[in-house]
């Protein structure tokens, strides 16, 4: 029996196991929306298409499934681009369906026409334009396969109006999917043996993990590996949570705002085992001085990540779980050789660094943003799913909310997208209705997608938003303070709206704390209040994020923010 394109589309999504999509309707997707009206799929109506892409991304990160969004052509499609680029930089599997004008009109500058496959070619893992209704099922299948396989990433499928209106048989594709990209994901066993040799010879080893450990679902294997060999471990922003942040072996985050002891440990290491990282400039500091005394082992699923920024001594192309699993088996065979106090001197040195410069801040008369996050950590038992925006709020979260589990921190690490956190938190809460989901925001970032409060209220998504309100675009202000002679060009946004009233206007709850003694009570009340809540914390306006490694500086050249 022949089905209409729109019907085929919904059926293909159901066959992929999709239950929720985030979207916004428009002219060319009316046929699909008419089909959605039958209610086979849950559709979350956002208030801006960027919100749909970020919500699908948050849904994907929190659930480990592929996030899906559906928007119309032209501006609907272009509004998703920031969300797609965000997912691309962080390797998050989402599939974005965009409407397109009818095939006969493509190229005629028709109303609401945009060459969205052309626009998104550099920021998608792959994209498609479906030209015949018959190709719809297969394309949907391929899109999901590509999004989740290998190094995951966003895929866009452009759907012309006549394709959704046309009739075709629903034939589920059996075989012939695109071949798995890249070489085999199984590690070279000899190379793994070599890692073991290097560990045996090392005096000062450090493990560095990134988002690849979380995407590769290798957290268990990682914990076993690190504990068995007794290795100090540091993480990129994207890797936080793969190893428990409160564990004694954890050094916290590495890089520009990494801990003193992580930066010192990597800089003085003689062996660095990097798993699922891509050596971003925010992590390495000045490349010439990065881990200068160390042999570097790089385990990553993407051959293109290897030797891209940092030249390594041993490269292993593999998914992180298989590589770590096999390393663990080899360690088991070694038996006692790797247990106990093998790197005792090195741990002692690291302890000294930890004592010399722990993460800290000076309490004062105003609310300290770090203290808000520490208190949030305590009140949530370190168990919340935490989304962040981008800037100081993001770095303080990374420093002061030690994450326990993978997929617990949702943050735009690569692209650094302000406005990501709130819609991502909504997506995460929809994926995990029983978890506490918090968005830690600044007063700048929250205004970039504040319209999604209507979505949260509409579906009663109980996301708690912690606004660290310092009246500034804080991170840019900090750079202006340090590198531009305190000339605060266009970073003072103290004329912000009253966030409590904004929340109330949308039908949510708004709370505010202006003095340190009010802070904990507001957090408690906010977390206990049902439904979406904005908590406005008026914090110290010129508090900075420290330690800080300046741009172009080596990781050892840290400003600890100690005011004499």
């Amino acid at each position: 029996m022949k089905l209409k394109g729109a019907q085929i589309f919904i059926k293909a999504l159901l066959d992929e196991g999709v239950d929720t999509i985030f979207g916004y309707p428009g002219g060319v997707v009316l046929d699909i929306y008419d089909e959605l009206h039958k209610g086979q799929l849950r559709h979350i109506l956002v208030r801006h298409e960027q919100g749909a892409a970020h919500a699908a991304d948050g849904y994907a990160r929190a659930s480990g499934k592929v996030g899906v969004c559906l928007v119309t052509s032209g501006p609907g499609a272009t509004n998703t681009v920031t969300g797609i680029a965000t997912a691309y930089m962080d390797s998050i599997p989402i599939v974005v369906f965009t409407g397109q004008v009818s095939t006969a009109l493509i190229g005629s500058d028709a109303f609401q026409e945009a060459d969205i496959t052309g626009i998104t070619r550099p920021c998608t893992k792959h994209n498609f334009i479906v030209r015949r209704t018959e190709d719809l099922v297969r394309t949907v299948k391929e899109a999901f396969y590509i999004a989740r396989s290998g190094r995951p990433g966003p895929v866009l499928v452009d759907l012309p109006k006549d394709v959704a209106q046309g009739m075709a048989e629903y034939v589920p594709p059996e075989a012939g999917l695109p071949r798995t990209k890249g070489p085999s994901y199984l590690p070279d066993v000899q190379a793994l043996e070599k890692v073991l040799c290097m560990l045996r010879d090392a005096k000062r080893p450090v493990v560095l993990i990134g988002g690849g450990v979380i995407l590769g679902k290798a957290s268990e294997e990682l914990r076993a590996f690190v504990r068995k060999a007794g290795l100090p471990i540091t993480s990129t922003l994207m890797g936080l949570g793969a190893y428990p942040g409160t564990d004694p072996l954890s050094l916290g985050m590495l890089g520009m705002h990494g801990t003193y002891y992580a930066n010192m440990a990597v800089s003085h290491a003689d062996l660095l085992i990097a798993v699922g990282v891509r050596f971003d400039d925010r992590v390495t500091g000045r490349l010439a001085d990065f881990a200068r005394g160390a042999k570097i082992v790089h385990i990553d699923i993407d051959p293109a990540s290897i030797n891209k920024n940092v030249t390594v001594d041993l490269a292993i192309v593999s998914d992180s779980r298989t590589a770590l699993h096999q390393l663990n088996q080899m360690l088991e065979r070694e038996g006692k050789a790797f247990s106990g106090d093998r790197y005792g001197e090195w741990h002692k040195q690291i302890e000294e660094w930890k004592t010399y410069a722990p993460l800290s801040y000076c309490p004062g008369e105003k609310i300290k943003p770090q203290c808000v996050i520490e208190t949030l950590h305590r009140l949530t038992g370190g168990d919340a799913i935490v989304a962040t925006e981008v800037g100081q709020n993001q770095m303080w979260t990374a420093q002061f909310y030690p994450f326990k589990r993978p997929n617990q921190l949702l943050t735009s690490g690569g692209l650094g997208t302000m406005g990501y956190g709130f819609p991502a938190a909504i997506g995460a809460q929809i994926a995990c209705p029983d978890r506490t989901v918090v968005d830690i925001a600044g007063d700048g970032s929250i205004q970039m997608n504040i319209q999604e409060l209507a979505t949260a209220v509409n579906y009663n998504v109980p996301v708690k938003v912690v606004i660290l309100n310092n009246g500034f675009l804080g991170m840019v202000r900090q750079w202006q303070e340090i590198f531009y002679g305190k000339r605060y060009s266009n970073t003072n946004i103290s004329r912000t709206p009253d966030f409590v009233k904004v929340a109330e206007a949308y039908g949510a709850t708004g709370l505010r704390a202006t003095r340190p003694e009010e802070m904990e009570a507001v957090l408690k009340k906010g977390l206990e209040t049902p439904g979406p809540v904005f908590m406005d914390f008026v914090v110290d306006s010129e508090e900075g994020v420290y330690p800080m490694v300046g741009p172009g500086a080596a990781l050892t050249e840290m400003d600890l923010g100690r005011k004499e």
Partner: protein
């Protein structure tokens, strides 16, 4: 590291946007395409692209890694120059009016050019050869005045 020309063959699915994807890897990551040629293989659904880029071996490695990631790329090879047959083709138009056509004819014969069109006022010549051969012929024909030319990208077979 030494900067020189590198030739690569990329076998791809014959789809409308595949060339744009490959070109995008070059433009988006700051590499330059010196020469390109593309056409279908024995299988009309598969296209072979031959591409020349300038850079050191590390650059070429980076390009290879990025191109291999593209979904529609079936195969990627860097051509080692000593083992491969490399050819370019060039069409040259030479004006014949008020000229010593005998001398031109003689040169054409000497340079092993094929005459593909002969009119009273001009002729068009076809030359196929290595880069060096083509440069040699062009230099030899220059005195007769090359009015216009069209030059293909490099093609290669091992």
């Amino acid at each position: 590291m030494e900067i020189k020309n590198h030739t690569m063959t990329i076998v791809v699915n014959n789809k409308p946007d595949v060339l744009a994807r490959i070109a995008g890897i070059f433009s988006g990551r700051g590499f330059n395409i010196e020469s390109i040629s593309a056409n279908v293989t024995l299988n009309p659904e598969v296209t072979k692209i031959i591409l020349v880029t300038k850079g050191n071996t590390a650059t070429v490695g980076r390009i290879e890694n990025q191109i291999r990631k593209l979904v529609d790329v079936i195969d990627f090879q860097v051509v080692a120059n000593d083992r491969a047959i490399l050819r370019e083709m060039i069409l040259i138009r030479i004006p014949l009016a008020d000229k010593d056509t005998e001398k031109i004819r003689k040169d054409i014969e000497n340079f092993h050019c094929r005459i593909v069109r002969m009119e009273p006022d001009h002729c068009i010549l076809e030359i196929t050869g290595t880069l060096e051969e083509i440069q040699w012929v062009m230099k030899g024909l220059e005195p007769h005045g090359i009015e216009d030319l069209s030059r293909s990208g490099l093609i290669v077979l091992r």
